[in-house]
Amino acid sequence: MSALSHQTERADRRASSLGLEITLGTAIFGLFVLIALAAPLLAPYDPHAFSGRPLERPSVAHLLGTNDAGQDILSELIYGARISLAVGLGAALGTVALGLLVGAVAGYAGGLLDTLLMRVVDVMLALPRLPLLILLAAFLGSGLVQTMGIISLLFWPATARVIRAQVQTVRQRGYVKMARNFGGGSGYVLRRHILPAIVPLIAFGLVAAAGRAVAMEAGLAFLGLGDPTAKSWGLMMRFALNLPGLLLTDRWLWWLLPPGLCITLLILALTYLGIGLEGRLHPGLKR
């Protein structure tokens, strides 16, 4: 049995493949960042401008054709990177900030405060994500900032849990008690010992949250709950699908497929980056 006989081996080939994952993830992610930053230079037209007739097929003037309002799809695609990345990063920052705050406080303080905060986390984790998201989006209105805020609100509990666990572990380690013996106060301990232990978690958390946020933002836009003025990839797909009979022609190939692929690629890049980081964090992780 090849499966079990590996038990007695001490082989571990993880190191090499993890490097591949991080490299690939970083490369693709970097590419998207570049595209987003250089959008004005790369896009042939202003995505809001009616640069052509509606529903044109791909041509030299419009490499991906135009949408139903006559706007260049390629430009929409390129500028869409900005939205996805912005919301992804913004929501990720929000998630991690909230999660860090709650998790660190709960893990460090312990006692009643910890129990209270964890109750909140448990409740939030028990609630189904998307319906709540829809509820909030419906009542709070659409807009990029609202979207970022709502996504952060929904994802911070998981991060808080992870950070709390780590803070707890470090807090009761011997060297923290020694630092106390030397006369170090809470501020010192937090700064000197606990923070370095959480930094890798924060990095990983940011990447993971960004991945989820990008997916969620596109999904919301697709459902019509996103900012209708922000030309995100999800919105592009929504408009594409709104066209009756889209699937029966091959128009989907240049209107529906590109944004979908972009979303998938970006999420994949972030996921692989996350897997790579996680592997570095936990060298003993058996995969």
Binding site: S2, A126, P128, R129, L132, I134, A138, F139, G211, L247
Partner: protein, 325 residues
């Protein structure tokens, strides 16, 4: 177990309260806007307006509103749909079974294939099949579910014309007998279920595979092998049996994911489930329906959580003692 049930009820109560408070606390007073002739959300139908006033009771003090709301939730009065002018409860009852059919089937299929596939992959760790399956799972699990659905729709529905493009069943169909009805529903179910299954499958597969690989490295597996047990016994009775524990633990989370996926899929395929309902309600600012769906879905997910906890307790003897019967 008792503590779990209590926690479940408490969370349910929180959901109910959240449902109650949210529209009343948000800026812009969306509920009063429904009844305000000046606002763009003004409901024109007098009959519906009257029903809304009665249900929300905005002129009464807050505690009274709260109790009325709770009473309504328990008795089944969840208000009236603005858009369709029907009791929300009736709408939910009509749409819920479709969603259950979709998510139940998809979860079942994904879990089964994930278990079997993950087990095989872990057993043949490092082989080509394993690596291929793993990469495919990562991609499938990360691609947005609506994108996967779209691709399937295009290839299997539009291009090849094998399967219907939308709906739960052929509109205005007359069935010769129950079997024909089932067949029709089944045909319409295939694409949505396939999409959701693929989306869930990725995560399930990876979970089972990674857990199993971890378990295979445990000392007791070595001892089991040293005992000269048959490979089948090693694989199923020992390895997989232990891998079931984290799998079941995650089942509840996967149920939540299934609901999320269902919303997108129902929208995409115009499938008459809860997801479709809430999607349309959001478009029409139909608050009673939105709140109703949120309530029912939350309750469903919480129940799934509870079931998973109970199942986990039965399967893992280490937990049975803590939970206490």
């Amino acid at each position: 177990m008792r503590t779990r049930v209590v926690a479940y009820l408490v969370t349910l109560w929180i959901v109910l309260s959240l449902n109650f408070l949210l529209p009343r606390l948000l800026p812009g007073e969306p509920l009063s806007a429904l009844l305000d002739p000046e606002s763009s959300d003004y409901v024109f139908s007098a009959e519906v307006r009257a029903a809304l006033e009665a249900y929300y009771g905005l002129d009464r003090p807050l505690p009274a509103q709260y109790f009325a709301y709770l009473k309504g939730a328990v008795t089944g009065d969840l208000g009236r749909s603005i858009r369709l002018n029907q009791p929300v409860a009736k709408l939910l009852a009509a749409h819920l079974p479709w969603t259950l059919l979709l998510t139940g089937t998809a979860l079942g299929l994904a879990s089964l294939s994930g278990l079997l596939g993950g087990a095989e992959a872990a057993w043949k760790r490092g082989s080509l099949a394993d690596r291929l399956l793993t990469v495919t799972s990562v991609v499938a699990g990360n691609a947005p579910v609506y994108f996967v659905g779209m691709m399937l729709l295009i290839f299997l529905g539009a291009k090849l014309g094998w399967l219907p493009l939308a709906g739960g069943r052929t509109p205005f169909a007359h069935y010769d007998g129950p079997l024909a009805a089932v067949a029709d529903v089944g045909r319409h179910l295939i694409l949505p279920t396939l999409t959701l299954t693929l989306s869930l499958l990725g995560i399930q597969f990876l979970l089972v595979r990674n857990n199993l690989v971890s378990i295979l490295g445990e000392e007791f597996m070595l001892v089991a092998r040293a005992k000269g047990l048959r490979p089948a016994r090693l694989k199923w009775n020992h390895a997989l049996r232990n891998a079931l524990l984290p799998f079941v633990a995650h089942l509840a989370a996967h149920a939540g994911l299934a609901i999320t996926g269902a919303v997108f899929i129902e929208t995409l395929f115009q499938y008459p489930g809860m997801g479709r309902l809430i999607f349309e309600a959001v478009g029409a600012r139909d608050y009673p329906v939105i709140q109703g769906v949120f309530l029912v879905v939350s309750a469903a997910v919480l129940t799934a959580n509870l079931l998973a906890d109970w199942l986990n307790g039965r399967l893992d003897p280490r937990l049975a003692e803590e939970v206490g019967r």
